[in-house]
C-alpha cells in the first residue's frame, strides 16, 4: 500500500464533536482503510473552509458515449495538493422504482464502486438517484459497462434532460395508495428514454409520482409534473371502527403518538374540527362526510386509518410547475388536471405531456423551468390555448376576487374597449 497522506483538518474536526454521525468520521475511516482520495477530499474541503470559496471546478465533456446526462464532471482546482481528486466525477444511477433492492445487490454495487471509483456513495440524491461519488474520466465507460451489463442498471438524468422519474412505495406497502406508482414510474422511464439521456429541453424537467395526497415524495413541491393519486367517489367509512376509535379500542394515528399520554382520543377536536373545508359532522353515532366539499387533505384518514379509507374510483391529479428558488423564489405546483384515470398505457397522460413539452421546448428560454414559463406567459394561456382544456374554478387562485381571468374579448357580448394609456394615467403599474 502506498503511503497515505492525511492533511491537517482542524476546522473539519469541529464537525466531529456534535451528537450526530459526521461525514468527516466516515471519510476518515475510509481513508484509514487505504483510500487516499478520502483524505484528499477532506484536505480540499478544509482548504475551502480556510479560503471561504470552493476548490471544485465542475462541468465538462464527461459522460458516456451517446449520453448527455448521468455524469457530472468535477475537477479539483488544486490538483497538485490533492492529486487523487484531480478528477472526481459523480455518476447518477437510475434507482429502481420505490428504491426496492436487496443487500446482495447493494454489496455487489459497492464492490464494483470500490474497484472503479472512490467507494463513496450518496444513497440517495434529492432526485432519488443512487449517487456514486468520485471517479476519473477513464473509469466512466467501464463503470457504465458494468452497471448496464452486470446490474441491469442505467444512468439517471442530469443536465437539460428529463430527470430520473421518482415515486413513493405505492401499493407495494401502502394502503392509502390510489395508484400503482411503480408501474407509472417505470413506464415513464422507459417511454421517455431519449428525453432522459439526450438533452433537448431548455432546462431540467422532473416527474414525480405519489400514490395519495399525503404525497410522500413531495411531488407537489419538487416536480415540474406532479402525479398525485386521488379518488372521485366517496371516502369509505366503517362506522364500527369509528366507534372503536372513540372508545379507545384502536389507537389514533395507528399508534404513532404513543410515546406519551395525550389523553383520550377526541373525535370532534382532533378530526372534525380540523377538517379544512368543515365537511365532516356527527349524525348521532354516525360520522358523516359531505364528500363534494372534501379537499383530499388526508387528515381524517391518517388519524383513523381503520375507520376511513380512500375511495375506490381512483386516478390522479396532475399539477405543474414546482421548482426551487433560482428565479422569483420557490414555487409549488399548480393544479392543471383535477382527475385523470392513469390506466396503462397512460395514453391520455402522454398526449398531455406532448402538448406541454412542445410548448415548453418552443417557448421556454434557456434555463427556464416549466413553472417559470407558465408564470411568464400566464396560466390561462397554458390551460386554454396550449392544453385546450376548459378552465374550472380550481385553476384560479382566488376565484371570488377575480371571476374573469379566462374571458377573452370575443367571448363577451359586445366585447370591450380598453385604452391602456388612459388607464395608466390614473393607475400606476
Amino acid at each position: 500500500m502506498a503511503d497515505l497522506k492525511k492533511h491537517d483538518t482542524p476546522l473539519l474536526d469541529e464537525l466531529k464533536k456534535g451528537p450526530f454521525p459526521s461525514f468527516v468520521d466516515d471519510l476518515e475511516t475510509r481513508g484509514k482503510g487505504g483510500v487516499q482520495c478520502c483524505y484528499d477530499l477532506l484536505g480540499q474541503l478544509e482548504l475551502s473552509y480556510v479560503h471561504k470559496e470552493t476548490h471544485w471546478k465542475h462541468g465538462g465533456i464527461v459522460g458516456v458515449f451517446g449520453y448527455g446526462g448521468g455524469v457530472i464532471g468535477r475537477y479539483s482546482d488544486a490538483p497538485e495538493q490533492f492529486p487523487t481528486i484531480a478528477h472526481f466525477h459523480t455518476l447518477r444511477v437510475n434507482q429502481p422504482a420505490s428504491k426496492f433492492y436487496n443487500s446482495k445487490f447493494l454489496n455487489k454495487l459497492c464492490d464494483m464502486w470500490d474497484h472503479r471509483g472512490s467507494g463513496v456513495t450518496n444513497f440517495h440524491g434529492s432526485t432519488g438517484d443512487m449517487i456514486l461519488i468520485g471517479t476519473s474520466t477513464d473509469e466512466l465507460e467501464p463503470t457504465f459497462y458494468d452497471l448496464s451489463h452486470q446490474f441491469d442498471m442505467d444512468l439517471g438524468g442530469s443536465g437539460s434532460n428529463l430527470r430520473t422519474p421518482a415515486c413513493c412505495m405505492g401499493k407495494a406497502r401502502c394502503e392509502y395508495s390510489c395508484l400503482d406508482t411503480q408501474a407509472i414510474c417505470y413506464d415513464l422511464t422507459m417511454t421517455y428514454q431519449d428525453e432522459l439521456h439526450r438533452p433537448a429541453f431548455p432546462y431540467k424537467f422532473k416527474f414525480k409520482v405519489s400514490g395519495c395526497p399525503n404525497d410522500c415524495v413531495a411531488a407537489i413541491a419538487r416536480s415540474c409534473t406532479s402525479i398525485i393519486g386521488t379518488w372521485r367517489d366517496n371516502i369509505r367509512i366503517d362506522q364500527k371502527a369509528v366507534q372503536a376509535y372513540v372508545g379507545g379500542e384502536i389507537p389514533p394515528n395507528a399508534g404513532a403518538f404513543s410515546d406519551r399520554d395525550w389523553g383520550a382520543f377526541d373525535l370532534q377536536k382532533e378530526v372534525i374540527d380540523l377538517c379544512p373545508s368543515g365537511c365532516m359532522y356527527m349524525d348521532g353515532n354516525d360520522l358523516k362526510i359531505d364528500d363534494r366539499e372534501c379537499t383530499r387533505c388526508m387528515h381524517c384518514i391518517n388519524v383513523m386509518p381503520s375507520a376511513l379509507r380512500t375511495g375506490v374510483d381512483c386516478g390522479a391529479t396532475i399539477l405543474n410547475g414546482a421548482k426551487a428558488p433560482i428565479l422569483e423564489g420557490a414555487q409549488m405546483s399548480t393544479l392543471i388536471i383535477p382527475f385523470i384515470k392513469m390506466e396503462y398505457p397512460y395514453e391520455e397522460f402522454k398526449d398531455y405531456v406532448d402538448l406541454m413539452w412542445d410548448w415548453w421546448m418552443e417557448e421556454g428560454k434557456n434555463r427556464e423551468r416549466l413553472g417559470e414559463l407558465i408564470q411568464r406567459q400566464g396560466l390561462a394561456h397554458y390551460i386554454v390555448d396550449i392544453l385546450g382544456r376548459e378552465p374550472i374554478p380550481q385553476h384560479v387562485k382566488e376565484p371570488r376576487s377575480n371571476p374573469y381571468p379566462f374571458w377573452k374579448e370575443e367571448e363577451v357580448p359586445g366585447g370591450w374597449k380598453r385604452n391602456l394609456a388612459d388607464f395608466r394615467a390614473r393607475h400606476l403599474a
Partner: protein, 83 residues
C-alpha cells in the same frame, strides 16, 4: 414531410461551425436556428446522430447541457453556474 436527416445534420454542422467562432458552446435551442422550418424533434435526432458520429459533443454542468463541435470546448477550463 419529415426533413431529410442528412440534410439537417449538414445544416446543424454548418450553423455550429459559423456560430462557434463567437460561442463554442450552444444550447439546444440555438441549434434549432440551423433550420427554423424543421421540427425540434427532427433537429434533436440530427444532433443525437452527430454525437454518435463524434462530430458534436455534449458539455454538461450537471444542471444544464450544451452542445459543441468536437474539440471546440476545453474541459479543463470550463466552469458554469451549477445547482
Amino acid at each position: 414531410m419529415a426533413a431529410d436527416i442528412e440534410e439537417l445534420k449538414k445544416k446543424v454542422l454548418d450553423y455550429m461551425a459559423k456560430k462557434s467562432k463567437f460561442k463554442p458552446k450552444m444550447y439546444f435551442k440555438d441549434l434549432c436556428k440551423a433550420d427554423e422550418s424543421a421540427k425540434m424533434r427532427e433537429i434533436k435526432k440530427a444532433a443525437s446522430a452527430l454525437v454518435q458520429e463524434e462530430k458534436v459533443e455534449y458539455w454538461s454542468s450537471g444542471s444544464t447541457t450544451l452542445y459543441s463541435l468536437k474539440g471546440a470546448s476545453s474541459k479543463e477550463t470550463d466552469t458554469f453556474e451549477h445547482d
